[in-house]
């Protein structure tokens, strides 16, 4: 018996979400009194480091093809059967969410996605997740013999508890991919919003795209990722993938700085799981202040450069 954690391979690198999932899996395995296995695939030179975050054994499947939910489903469900997994954990990433359900179907398992705390073991697993776009918390019990769950990003800070292990190959019988990727566009060098720990976001208060540089300077000082509200994306000041909110990306960073964003409920739905929210707005009645931890009322064109300067001074003395 074991907890099996699937770890995505991003061009030979493991992202933080992968380490989070393994650490989460190892804590759950401890509660269940079983071991924690990690599964990854392809050329993955960092696979052994998963041992540091609690994987007792690391398995590597040989697959280098495109992301195809049917292939990934077969990979994880077959490995789970071979290794006698009682729980399968995946990161709640775009890919993880896309095939976790398939794994559950193959294993005849109950599934809950977006789990944000280590489950309670009580004659089944009691899992917790955020629902209604962060406006409520739900506790579910998975009652099947095998359970599948995805772990919401940034739910826990992975801690080094062990040491590297030697990865072992695992032979699996995978189907041919039916989905063919013909083109891929990625923004290099920038931490994608769903993974970002620090986010600087701006809205209509910025008045126009020509003023965006003050946002970028603050983001640069903090080493944060930039985001925007819906009107900013809709008018084309910023690309759509930077739009956070109900119809855009939902994020959960440690720090969300909202600049010149009033805080409409649709925007809050995408950001209210952030750990700390700073709101900068000239209107003291802006609804966003109700959801904020820290607020600054005033002219953003005056405040933001001052904040950038303060961050730079702070960083210089670290």
């Amino acid at each position: 018996m074991s907890v099996l954690v699937f770890v995505e391979n991003h061009n030979g690198k493991i992202k933080k979400s992968g380490f989070e999932a393994v650490y989460f899996g190892s804590l759950l395995a401890k509660n269940m009194g079983v071991s924690c296995h990690a599964l990854t695939y392809g050329q993955n030179p960092d696979a052994g480091t998963l041992g540091k975050y609690g994987a007792n054994e690391v398995y590597v499947a040989s697959y280098n093809g495109d992301f195809d939910t049917q292939v990934y489903t077969a990979m994880v469900s077959e490995a789970a059967q071979k290794l006698g997994a009682k729980v399968v954990v995946l990161a709640h990433t775009a890919n993880g969410k896309s095939f976790a359900g398939g794994v559950a179907v193959k294993l005849n398992a109950g599934i809950i996605t977006g789990v944000n705390a280590v489950p309670v073991v009580d004659n089944g697993l009691i899992v917790q997740k955020s629902v209604f776009s962060g406006k409520a918390i739900a506790h579910y019990k998975i009652t099947t013999d095998v359970a599948v769950m995805t772990l919401a990003g940034n739910s826990m800070q992975p801690v080094v508890t062990g040491s590297d292990v030697s990865p072992q190959d695992i032979a699996l019988n995978l189907p041919a991919a039916k989905v063919k990727v013909v083109e891929r566009k990625t923004s290099e060098g920038i931490v994608p919003l769903p993974e970002a720990e620090l986010v600087v976001s701006a809205g209509r208060g910025l008045k126009g795209p020509e003023n965006w540089s003050i946002i970028e300077e603050l983001a640069k000082a903090l080493q944060a990722t930039t985001a925007c509200s819906r009107p900013v994306a809709d008018t084309g000041w910023r690309p759509h993938h930077e739009h956070v909110g109900q119809t855009g990306v939902a994020i959960k960073p440690n720090l969300y700085i909202a600049i010149g964003i009033s805080g409409a409920i649709q925007h809050l739905a995408g950001v209210n799981n952030s750990k700390t929210i700073v709101v900068i707005n000239k209107d003291p009645e802006a609804p966003f202040f109700k959801a904020a931890d820290y607020g600054v009322v005033g002219d953003l064109f005056d405040i933001v450069p001052k904040l950038t300067k303060a961050v730079e001074t702070f960083k210089a003395h670290q």
């Binding site: 896309s98 599934i111 720990e197 993938h241 700390t276 820290y294 405040i303």
Partner: protein, 247 residues
């Protein structure tokens, strides 16, 4: 093309969320329900566009009680040809997917479309459950979908930090995100016609529950905002470092 679109009812974004006394059930009293925006704006409208281009039929499917009929009629008013409702309240996505598959496998749909998630339970899992139970390919977070009607689809999907253009032969399941289509407002003719379009209510198939609700709760309220002097940004940085411990 025969397209099945999964359509679900969700509380309006602005509604206040509350639960029954024992915390086991969502309290929908006085709440305005809408069609899940991802199902309506993107999945349903895209299905209608494809049928306008290539001919065929758009069927919607909803798992739920009669209180869903109002949003189903809206889907018909927007342009779906007919609708199926499985008459049961599903506890979770596992059950909803099971009931949808029971219906979907009775007919050879070329394409099954649904929104990338519902705005209530935010599971993002229904599409992958349906696809796997039917042994079909699944593409999630589709932002663009094209076909020449030959059964092969070109789909642009969101991936972490970018996008991919994929080619895949149907039948398949696709979940729709922003960009897939533009919202359509039903016109008077559509509303009139929707009243006579078929809405078939079918009984649920027997289902063994895999997940049960333990409880719902509301999150702890924030302590309230701490206002910082705009002239003292060093103080904000100090608080972010020492108090919030985020930088």
């Amino acid at each position: 093309m025969n397209i099945l679109v999964c359509v679900s009812k969700t509380p309006d974004t602005t509604s206040k969320i509350s639960f029954s006394g024992d915390g086991k059930e969502y309290n929908g009293d006085g709440v305005t329900f809408i069609m899940n925006p991802y199902d309506e704006w993107y999945a349903l409208v895209k299905a209608i566009e494809l049928v306008e281009q290539h001919g065929g039929n758009v069927t919607t499917i909803t798992v739920g009680d009669a209180s869903n009929d109002i949003i189903i009629r809206k889907a018909l008013a927007i342009g779906a040809n007919d609708a199926i409702r499985v008459d049961t309240k599903a506890t979770d996505s596992n059950e909803a997917a099971f009931q949808i598959v029971e219906v979907a496998k009775q007919k050879n749909y070329d394409l099954i479309l649904l929104g990338k998630e519902t705005i209530d339970y935010n599971g993002s899992v229904l599409g992958s459950l349906v696809a796997a139970q039917m042994d079909l390919p699944y593409i999630s977070y589709g932002t663009k979908l094209e076909t020449s009607g030959n059964g092969v689809y070109t789909v642009t999907r969101e991936i972490e930090g970018g996008e991919e253009v994929c080619e895949v032969a149907g039948p398949l399941v696709i979940s729709a995100a922003k960009g897939m289509a533009e919202q359509r407002i039903p016109n008077m003719k559509g509303i009139m016609m929707s009243k006579s379009k078929p809405l078939v209510v079918v009984p649920p198939a027997a289902y063994d529950s895999k997940v049960s609700v333990v409880s719902f709760e509301l999150p702890v309220q924030k302590k309230g905002v701490k206002m910082i002097d705009p002239e003292n940004m060093d103080e904000l940085v100090r608080l972010l470092h020492e108090e919030a411990k985020v930088i």
